[in-house]
């Protein structure tokens, strides 16, 4: 799993240094892609009990990936693709409380969920920062849209997490 | 449909004929038949025939929960239903050893005496009507209605109050009730001279009622005559004083007697008892504000109420005489046996049969009403 953390921090560093929309989108796309591949890799590894979870996550990331691919093809985005973007400031507050775990060879549902939540949180704050530092216009709206998407997804995962882990106290 | 006991024993002589009074006749407080054998207009023999109001109450009560029987009890005597409720409750309370709160006892006396007033006004008017005078009947009915208004306020029902439950009563008085009762009894007292003028100072009534249906004191004792009918023969006996229940031993009232033993004396005893009841109600109204506290003691869930095994005989003075319940429990949730001893069981059968012999046909109805016989009590 260390490869994932490396990959993540590498892409994070890339985003930080990005200066154009084109590059931001490119890194984001690969960000979703690597996540999709990560979950897909997990499917045969985890117990059949939790397989539904990683399957759903992989599907979700595939959806995001498709979104970015189609974005890049849009005319209005293409027009602005060379626009200068200020480097975003991100805040990993949620990750302070819930550490990103080493998922191990056979991660359980809680580990997968924790990782996924952290990841969505990171993406959300990232897009939010991008939106904040962009002047009003279609690009700002795009980042806001992306941030909201990630926020919604993260919230869904949080609910699922609490339902799985905390509920059921006898 | 020919009644079995209708068969005459022998061929009647040709100068005799038979006459049925009832089962529907205004001369009695319900459906009841009195069959006469006459010689001219003189009665040779009278035979009581009951059953027209038989609803099998005693049997019905054995099939109902103790508390479900409350609704049956007042129906055993329509004109004076209250003593029926109270005495059934007294019997259950005795079997269960329930301690009825003081306030409930006084409320019961209030209710019972109002009921006695209403019942006497009813009988009083009815008696006058059997002598052909309808004004006292209209007045009696109209004045009785004022009491029914009070019952409606206190109990929620005008005739079938179902106000008592074992352990006490169901509701306390509504606000301002004492004042309204007080006004009503003041009014009723003011009416008494009117009744006197209309009946006891009226030559027609005196002529019709004097010497009719005479019961001597010895006969009264032999025939188990009770209530006003007994007191009209000069014997000062009243269950309220001589076998007291509720709080009658704390109340000041006179036992009214007359010596003549005839229909007139019986009417007069009732007339005077109206005043005694008014006296009692005044005392109760004065006392009630002093007695605080609950109006019933805690009772079990009516759907799970076993009354301890045993039997009890409870007596009360109803407007018609001695009323008693013999109640047996086998420890179950329903009465094992209830037996109602209504005063009219004596008055409407053996006494009436005896008194009618030798009297004239026009007096039979008056004798019946002067005895204040209540057919539903006979039939049950």
């Amino acid at each position: 799993m260390s490869s994932m953390q490396e990959g993540e921090s590498a892409s994070y560093a890339k985003i930080k240094s990005m200066t154009t929309l084109k590059d931001v989108l490119a890194v984001a796309t690969s960000f979703e892609e690597s996540a999709r591949d990560f979950y897909t890799d997990l499917i045969p590894k985890v117990s059949k009990r939790f397989r539904w979870l990683v399957e759903e996550l992989a599907q979700e990331e595939q959806g995001h990936y498709d979104l970015f691919t189609s974005l890049a093809a849009r005319d209005d985005v293409e027009d602005a693709i060379q626009a200068e973007i200020e480097r975003p400031v991100t805040d990993g507050k949620f990750a302070d409380a819930v550490m990103t775990p080493d998922l191990g060879e056979q991660p359980d549902d809680q580990a997968v969920l924790q990782y996924a939540m952290g990841r969505e949180h990171l993406a959300m704050t990232h897009y939010r920062s991008l939106a904040d530092s962009t002047a009003p216009g279609p690009i700002k709206e795009l980042f806001e849209y992306l941030a909201n998407e990630e926020a919604k997804h993260k919230e869904e995962l949080e609910k699922l997490y609490y339902e799985t882990v905390h509920a059921g106290g006898v | 449909m020919r009644p079995e006991n209708y068969e005459t024993q022998r061929q009647p002589p040709s100068h005799e004929y038979e006459l049925n009074i009832g089962p529907n006749h205004p001369g009695i407080e319900g459906n009841y038949a009195f069959k006469l054998r006459l010689h001219g207009d003189e009665v040779i023999e009278g035979r009581a025939d009951a059953g027209y109001l038989h609803r099998g109450f005693e049997k019905l009560m054995e099939g109902r929960l103790w508390i479900q029987n409350l609704a049956i009890t007042p129906r055993i005597c329509v004109p004076d239903p209250v003593p029926m409720e109270i005495s059934y409750c007294l019997a259950v309370e005795d079997l269960c050893g329930l301690e009825v709160p003081e306030r409930a006892k006084w409320l019961r006396v209030l209710q019972a005496e109002l009921s006695r007033l209403a019942a006497h006004l009813f009988t009083f008017g009815g008696h006058a009507a059997t002598t052909g005078m309808y004004t006292p009947m209209f007045w009696g009915m109209a004045d009785r209605d004022l009491i029914l208004d009070l019952f409606e306020e206190l109990c929620g029902g005008r005739v079938y109050h179902i106000y008592n439950i074992p352990g006490g009563v169901r509701r306390d008085m509504p606000p301002g009730f004492i004042e309204r009762v007080s006004n009503t009894i003041d009014y009723l007292e003011s009416r008494l001279p009117d009744y006197d003028n209309l009946m006891f100072r009226n030559r027609v009534f005196v002529k019709r009622a004097r010497g009719v249906g005479v019961i001597s004191q010895q006969h009264a004792l032999d025939w188990a005559v009770t209530g006003p009918n007994l007191r009209a023969t000069g014997l000062a006996f009243d269950v309220r004083r001589d076998d007291p229940y509720l709080v009658y031993d704390q109340l000041d009232f006179d036992i009214v007697t007359e010596d003549a033993g005839d229909a007139w004396a019986r009417a007069l005893v009732r007339r005077k008892e109206l005043f005694e009841s008014i006296k009692i109600i005044r005392q109760v109204l004065a006392k009630l504000p002093e007695i605080e506290g609950p109006i019933r003691c805690p009772i079990p869930n009516p759907l799970a109420w076993n009354v301890p095994a045993g039997s009890t005989y409870v007596r009360m003075e109803s407007s018609k005489g001695e009323l008693a319940w013999y109640v047996v429990s086998n420890g179950g949730e329903k009465p094992y046996r209830t037996h109602v001893r209504g005063p009219s069981q004596m008055h409407a059968v053996q006494v009436l049969e005896k008194l009618s012999v030798g009297c004239r046909i026009e007096d039979v109805a008056q004798i019946m009403f002067s005895l204040d016989a209540c057919p539903p009590e006979v039939d049950r």
Binding site: - | A48, D243, Y313, R315
Partner: protein, 189 residues
Amino acid sequence: MTKGKELSTWLDKVLSELEGIEFRRKSSRRLRVDVAADALPALLELLRGRASYVHLSAISCVDWPDDGAFELVYHVWSYELQSLVSAHTRIPREPGVYISVYDIYTPAAFFERDIHEMFGVYFEGSPDMSKFILTEWDGPPPMRKDFDSEAWVNDHFDWQDYNPEWLKEIVAQGGGIAIRPDEQRFSRK
């Protein structure tokens, strides 16, 4: 009053000396006496003739089919002593015949006739054992415990089916009568 007290003391003494009699004072005004059937008339003679219990308040009958007995209870009152004696006796349910006390207490005629009609107990010497209330009744004496009036009613009458408009409406919506009163009648359980 003193005379009453003396009489009452005398009565207690007599009753305690009589054989086959159990007596118990429930209160100052209530006395329960249990007496064998053949001794009851003598006891009533004594109570009426010598102890001033002149008023027969009632005769109650109770059916005890499990014991094969009818219980007869004679409630007599003394105006002088202001006390009520309930004299209990039991007679065999079969043939259900007993002696009338009409010659001691005239009012017994009514009560004996009533008990005969309702329970089927025959009182020898009672002036009138003819029907009174249940003139047209040809069934068994209805107050006996083995007569089930509710079953009789169910056998002879039908429960009426209701069909008002509001009921038709809820039936059309898939509802309707769920529990009939005869199914839920608590007292039948």
